[in-house]
């Protein structure tokens, strides 16, 4: 699950001018033709670097994202919800595995990526720095945060890098039940008792601001990197993605009789875009830099998981092995 919007803040493109311009032309021609780039191809440094960063952050988002929902597995009400949630959270761990593998084809070893996550050097989707207080919160993530991630994933699946596209194809196939399951849970809450309805409304009220942050800072305050769009690394602007999400899901939320905590939220018939209260981007910056409700805990749990597994991995390692990056 991945918001992705802030990955490309502050990208420096100076290195592009230093690249072999003939090779660069061939590389860009391939992308323009819609042909995928594969691991053994020549690629500009910036492309390799930004892809690693993006795919790695996506992977981190999945493994961290497994925590706020994973906590509800033992508490999921009934077999149907429980089996689905177990499979869904497991898929998230599986997606992390697929994505780290894709990033590895670009030359960065998986343990390096995991270390960078734990030390705070690499980021993950900010939405997971918030707590899931209730089953309603869990359902919000399962439906709407997932929906946001799918908007991104579908866009990125048309990107230029082969291994990432292959991973996303598999991820999108596995995700198809996640979204339906999430919506199903919410329909039951919406059509259930007043306790259930209030639980979900309460969750919406708390999660809507992080959801508006999900796709990253507004276009007007973001730095734009046209070359990343040209290279099909970034597939749409943050506001484009956000509007797509609002188009698809606000009506569905309203149809269930829930309200959204933004009196200005409305589709503007003139612009065809959504009007809304501008999210607090200072708050976003604060949380993504480490000062959110759950940042410390998420990373600490991840660090502890790695620590607890250290003796296991040590026991299985063979000293002769040499590192070979994966092929595809």
């Amino acid at each position: 699950m991945y918001g992705g919007g802030n990955t490309f803040e502050g990208v420096k493109t100076d290195s592009v001018a230093q690249e072999d311009q003939v090779k660069l032309g061939e590389f860009e021609g391939r992308i323009a033709r819609g042909e995928k780039i594969e691991p053994s191809d020549w690629m500009p440094q910036l492309y390799r670097k930004q892809l690693i960063r993006m795919i790695e952050q996506h992977a981190h988002s999945e493994i961290i994202g497994a925590l706020p929902e994973g906590t509800w597995i033992t508490r999921a009400p009934g077999f149907k919800r429980k089996m689905a949630l177990m499979a869904k959270v497991q898929d998230e761990v599986g997606h992390a595995q697929l994505l780290y593998s894709a990033a590895e084809t670009l030359g960065k070893p998986r343990e390096q990526m995991i270390d960078d996550l734990i030390t705070g050097k690499s980021k993950y989707s900010n939405v997971f720095n918030y707590p899931t207080f209730t089953w309603g919160d869990c359902c919000f993530i399962s439906w709407l945060v997932d929906a946001g991630a799918i908007v991104n994933q579908l866009a990125n699946a048309k990107g230029s890098y082969g291994p990432y596209c292959r991973a996303l194809e598999r991820i999108c196939a596995e995700e198809s039940f996640h979204l339906k399951y999430g919506h199903h849970c919410v329909i039951y809450l919406a059509t259930g008792s007043s306790i259930q309805r209030e639980m979900f409304q309460d969750a919406i009220n708390r999660w809507w601001p992080p959801m508006m942050h999900f796709f990253g800072p507004a276009d007007m305050i973001s730095t734009h990197t046209p070359v990343l769009m040209k290279w099909k690394v970034k597939m749409g602007t943050n506001d484009d993605m956000r509007n797509q999400f609002l188009d698809m899901y606000v009506p569905k939320i309203w149809e269930l009789g829930f309200t959204l905590p933004d009196p200005n939220l409305a589709k503007n018939s003139k612009t065809g875009r959504w009007d809304y209260t501008e999210p607090d981007w200072e708050e976003f910056k604060r949380v993504i830099s480490g000062d959110g409700p759950c940042n410390k805990e998420r990373l600490e749990v991840r660090r502890i998981a790695e620590e607890r597994g250290r003796w296991v991995r040590k026991a299985l390692k063979s000293p002769q092995a040499a590192y070979v990056p994966p092929l595809a």
Binding site: T74, V93, Y100, W135, G192, A305
Partner: protein, 251 residues
Amino acid sequence: MNNIALKELLYKIADDQLILGHRNSEWTGMGPLLEEDIAFSSMAQDKVGQSLAMYTLLHSLGEGDPDTVAFTRRGNQFHNCVLVELPNGEYDFSLVRHFLFDTAEAIRFELLSNSSYEPLAQLAKKIRGELRYHTLHANTWIRQLGSSTEESIARIQASLNFSLPFAMGIFEASPHENELIESGVFAGEKALKQRWLAKVEEIIHQTDLHLPDLNTVEPVPGGRVGKHSEHLQPLLDEMSEVFRIDPTAEW
């Protein structure tokens, strides 16, 4: 044949699977290696799914619906062995429990595939492949961790020593043993335990581990008759936490 004996058998199997499935699911997202996290999670899902199949059989025999039976009973109404309710501890304990329990479970269902109670025989045949994976996984891990570093051998050995008394509780005899055996529903805990021991010994002998003489192991029984450790009720409370917010609601 007497349904009471059959139901008691089904309940203990289902409760074992439900509780162990929950414990193993607690590792999801926190495993020692991503791929192993995924594998352990799959086996947890298998267990919960199998318990659902068992509770569904019980429902067809007149017991409550699976959700009610699984999520509203009190601890002293559960018939799982104490081994499966213990907290996860570190990975060495969870793996050893997985090895000891799943070795027994695979043999139990092997025996049940010949059950005179047709639905149970069908189910046993159906899940054979799932249980094959569980034992393949457990054996591979125990063999490897049981023969590598000093630390891993020491940890696995300590977990083995700790778990064996609780593992004996898997085979606690039912008051209806004879009836189950005579009616052909199940070959009985004694037969199961014998075959289990042979299999466990076979694997342990392939490692640097040592299997204590079972005659020196003091069994911890009670689970089968509702006598549990202090760990079960908190887990059950957790499992029913959302349910209890509104017991009449559909979730």
